[in-house]
């Protein structure tokens, strides 16, 4: 099986929200909810400022607390390594929402099941990239198979230091961030 991951090269993110907009129409995400977002932070004092733009989504963790905390087995780790939700088994108990340290989930209004980023698995199966990656104006979001050393994600991760969000949570995310220009250790 391939090892699907996303690498977010924050150096090229220009905070344009094309990813968020594409995600919403591709996946028919309810208006008031988001499966991905762009977090903008600025540190320092005028005029010595530093900006960080960070797009966030479900980390499709290898040790997913949403799965281990799901009482019905609705949240599961798929064979392709993505974390998915079986809507029919979900009772909307919100245990996964409480367990997820990344605030990646919401309850679908009017339907009652938990919902989140699927990594556009329906598109991947058609040989396409996730919608957010396909439209990423800055080519900041990169999707691919980490088991393929020729893939763009493998190359990116071999060329620059990367990190994951909240490593201390022990979730082993599959979304990797390249924050700034630096050679790997």
């Amino acid at each position: 099986m391939p090892r699907y991951v996303m690498v977010i090269d924050q150096r090229n993110c220009i905070g344009c929200y094309a990813c968020v907009a594409a995600c919403k129409t591709e996946n028919d995400v309810p208006l008031e909810h988001f499966r991905t977002r762009v977090v903008e932070t600025v540190q320092g004092e005028f005029p010595n400022l530093r900006m960080e733009l960070r797009s966030e989504l479900c980390n499709h963790c290898d040790n997913p607390p949403c799965v281990s905390n799901c009482p019905t087995g609705a949240s599961y780790k798929s064979k392709d390594g993505t974390v998915q939700i079986n809507r029919n088994r979900c009772v909307g108990c919100k245990a996964c929402i409480a367990a997820c340290p990344y605030d990646a989930r919401y309850i679908y209004p009017g339907q009652g099941f938990a919902d989140k980023c699927t990594l556009c698995i329906h598109r991947i199966k058609q040989g396409k990239e996730p919608a957010c990656v396909a439209t990423c104006i800055g080519a900041s979001r990169v999707f691919g198979d980490l088991d393929d050393p020729q893939s763009k994600v493998s190359q990116l991760l071999s060329e620059a230091n990367s990190s994951v969000l909240l490593p201390e949570a022990g979730t082993r995310p599959r979304v990797f961030y390249i924050r700034k220009q630096s050679k790997p250790d």
Partner: protein, 734 residues
């Protein structure tokens, strides 16, 4: 060079071989049945969420557009769309759309209209136009327009006998820049600027907030330059997203940009950082330039701009070191302070000194290839009266080779009746009350009209003071002229409907043609529909209509000549046939032939200069009712320096009212107290604070910067209206 038929056939050979990205489902690929679900259709078209003209592919399921993707063949989009492009269906399916033709029944502005049939509405408009023609002459009807669908009214206007039309894109946007580059290089940088950003080693941005100002391919190239570690020098009073990516952020005192530009020119010359061989070969007036800028020292500039002298020198050397692979961004919205042609001339001169016009990483050259336009009749009547632009005091207003007009001249004539009266306005594709400075003047002019007709998609402010409102189809619902684009290469793109028009909406060609029929001018619109016109264009150019329809984009082979080479010497269409560092045309009209610094008024204590700009998810006011986009950015905020905010006793999220120097007050707007802006200015995203109650999503959200722009500084060279000359104070709303 005109493209011959044989070259065209070659083009088609090439185009047929263009590979379709495996990830993309173009109509051509779909014809073979790839992944096609029942009821799924794809249509290639041009996005009109802004005016960049990206190729888009609409996915239609059961007659409804459900997804929009960038056309991978199209150079404006390269398979990607911005947030607006991704959300285009939010405008098509906006419940607030204008659904039928409407004729005003109440007083102007009170919002009372009756539904009318197309026949009724068009007869009404035609009768009014003929009445105006009888009393005042045909010149008294004018057109304000923006975008492809509104262009169909240009031949209507010409056939009617009026030479008066204008786009805010000139006097309220990039006109001053285009004139400046035309005077210097004999060409402007293009509506889609020909920037070789992806190959630049140093990029200089004066106020250009790329990323926040979203023009798809330009921002893709911007990101690509970042990825390639180009050095960015961002000159902006505000820490923009671009500044966040920059090696150097120069938080300049607003209005002093020319001091920095002229000082850089001086440093380039004094330190021999300029491209001497290039200047010797292609430019003239170097001696006059050197003499005129000698007085602009880094120490002087430091005082004027509030930037450290050392930084001014260091950045000049950084630019010089990497020339000619340097992009001095020409800017886009350039109507700032009323000295805008001269400031833009400084940018053109810096581009010349670095030898970057026509060089890798600079501004690349436009293709020399062209196509003949397919027209109907062209024997338009010669108007008795001269166009207002020729009677204006702005000698170079029509020099851009664009003749896109000066909106505020039309408004002024409407207001004063001089040099002759204007009594009818057709307004399409622009929300004039939000686009022109001093909304009161616009409203007073409107009150002088016998006819204001506004074809629009949504009931924006200008529509809601019109006599007749006509429901326009969105770009997803209409066919439109083939766009012929002269970028580095020559290409054509297709606009076609993905779905049937909602309600009773119609396209611009239909409206112009139906009016023409009623005005006895039907001969000027020989094609029954715009789709027929496209077919005629295809026949004239020997393009395979089916292929263009499927691909949405066709490129002409071997028409790109982006860089200067021994085989591709640049042509400068200036009087001297050279790059004019010294501009005799300006001298002849009594203007500085080499730009000179003139300080502009700074705000008094307690006041801030009002700056405005863009959000990447909105296009002026036209997207502010789109639910998919307001979901991402629903209202603007006023950015205030954190220290100043504290002194004023306001914090982020507080509601404040802004009052300008003329006592005009804004609606309530939230504060963003931030380190990201200087203490002497405030900033807002343009286009918010709608006052149209018919726009249920946009009404009352945030505040309208244009409402506060009561003062404007007219550029004496081209008539564009500098709008960053307003000062506001801030009062907390209790």
């Amino acid at each position: 060079m005109k493209v011959t038929r044989r070259e065209f056939m070659k083009t088609l050979g090439l185009a047929a071989g263009v590979g379709v990205g495996a990830n993309w489902l173009l109509p051509a690929a779909l014809a073979s049945g790839e992944n096609l679900q029942p009821g799924e259709v794809y249509a290639a078209t041009n996005c009109e969420m802004c005016f960049w003209g990206c190729g888009a592919i609409a996915k239609v399921v059961d007659g409804k557009v459900v997804k929009l993707d960038g056309n991978p063949l199209h150079p404006g989009s390269r398979g990607k769309l911005c947030a607006r492009g991704n959300s285009g269906m939010g405008t098509t399916y906006d419940p607030d759309r204008i659904k039928t033709p409407l004729i005003r029944t109440g007083n102007r502005g009170d919002g009372k209209y009756k539904k009318a049939s197309w026949d009724e509405a068009l007869n009404y408009v035609a009768e009014k136009m003929l009445a105006i023609k009888r009393t005042y002459g045909p010149e008294a009807v004018c057109l304000f327009h923006h975008g492809p669908c509104a262009r169909h009214f240009l031949p209507l206007l010409a056939a009617f006998g009026s030479p008066n039309f204008a786009e805010p894109a000139f006097a309220q946007c990039r006109g001053a820049r285009d004139i400046a580059f035309q005077l210097t290089f004999g060409a402007n940088p293009g509506g889609n600027e020909r920037l070789d950003l992806a190959n630049s080693k140093v990029v200089v941005l004066f106020g250009s907030h790329l990323g926040e100002n979203m023009h798809n391919s330009q921002v893709q190239d911007f990101a690509s330059a970042i990825a390639k570690r180009a050095k960015f020098i961002v000159v902006d009073p505000r820490f923009s997203t671009a500044a966040g990516k920059a090696k150097y952020w120069l938080p300049i005192k607003p209005g002093t940009d020319m001091a920095l530009m002229l000082t850089w020119a001086n440093i380039f010359i004094k330190e021999g950082l300029y491209d001497q061989a290039y200047i010797d070969r292609y430019a003239e007036g170097f001696g006059e330039l050197a003499a005129a800028v000698a007085k602009y020292t880094p120490e002087w500039a430091a005082k004027e701009t509030d930037l450290p002298a050392g930084l001014i020198v260091e950045t000049a050397r950084e630019i010089g070191r990497y020339r000619p692979n340097v992009l001095i961004h020409p800017g886009r919205h350039s109507s700032w302070h009323g000295n805008d042609v001269q400031r833009s001339r400084c940018l053109a001169i810096l581009a010349a000194l670095t030898g970057s016009w026509g060089r890798e990483g600079g501004i690349y050259l436009r293709t020399k290839a062209s196509l003949e336009m397919a027209q109907g009749r062209e024997d338009y009547p010669v108007p008795e009266k001269k166009p207002l632009i020729e009677l204006s005091p702005y000698p170079l207003a029509s020099k851009a080779g664009l003749t896109i007009g000066v909106t505020t001249l039309l408004r002024q004539a409407t207001l004063t009746g001089k040099p002759y009266p204007i009594k009818g306005w057709i307004v399409m594709g622009t929300n004039l009350l939000r686009a022109l400075p001093n909304e009161k003047e616009t409203m007073a002019a409107i009150n002088n009209l016998d006819l204001l007709v506004t074809p629009d998609v949504l009931p924006f402010e200008t529509a809601m003071v019109s006599d007749v409102i006509l429901p326009s189809a969105t770009y997803l619902e209409k066919f439109d002229d083939i766009s012929v684009v002269k970028d580095s290469c020559l290409f054509v793109t297709m606009s076609q409907a993905a779905v049937k028009p909602m309600y009773e909406s119609k396209d611009g060609y239909f409206m112009a043609r139906e009016l023409a029929k009623r005005l006895g001018l039907a001969d000027y619109f020989p094609w029954e529909t715009v789709a027929d016109k496209i077919k005629a264009q295809c026949e004239l150019w020997k393009i395979d209509y089916e292929e263009l329809s499927q691909k949405g984009y066709l490129e002409f082979k071997n028409t790109a000549t982006p860089y200067i080479t021994p085989d591709n010497e640049p042509v400068f269409k200036t009087p001297s046939k050279k790059i004019e560092l010294y501009c005799k045309t300006l001298a002849d009209h009594g203007f500085d032939p080499v730009p000179q610094y003139v300080a502009i008024e700074q705000p008094q204590d307690g006041y801030f200069r009002l700056l405005y700009g863009r959000s990447p998810v909105h296009t002026f006011s036209r997207t502010t009712n789109n639910a998919l986009l307001t979901n991402l950015f629903k209202e603007n905020e006023v950015w205030i320096n954190a220290k100043k905010a504290k002194a004023l006793g306001v914090k982020s999220g507080d509601q404040v009212i802004l009052t300008n120097q003329d006592g005009v007050k804004s609606t309530k707007v939230k504060v963003k107290a931030t380190q990201r802006i200087r203490e002497d200015c405030v900033y807002m995203v343009h286009g918010f604070g709608s006052s149209s109650k018919e726009l249920h999503n946009a009404y009352g959200k945030g505040a309208d910067d244009q409402h506060l722009i009561t003062r404007y500084a007219i550029d004496p060279i081209c008539g564009s209206t500098g709008m960053r000359v307003n000062f506001v104070k801030i009062e907390k709303e209790v």
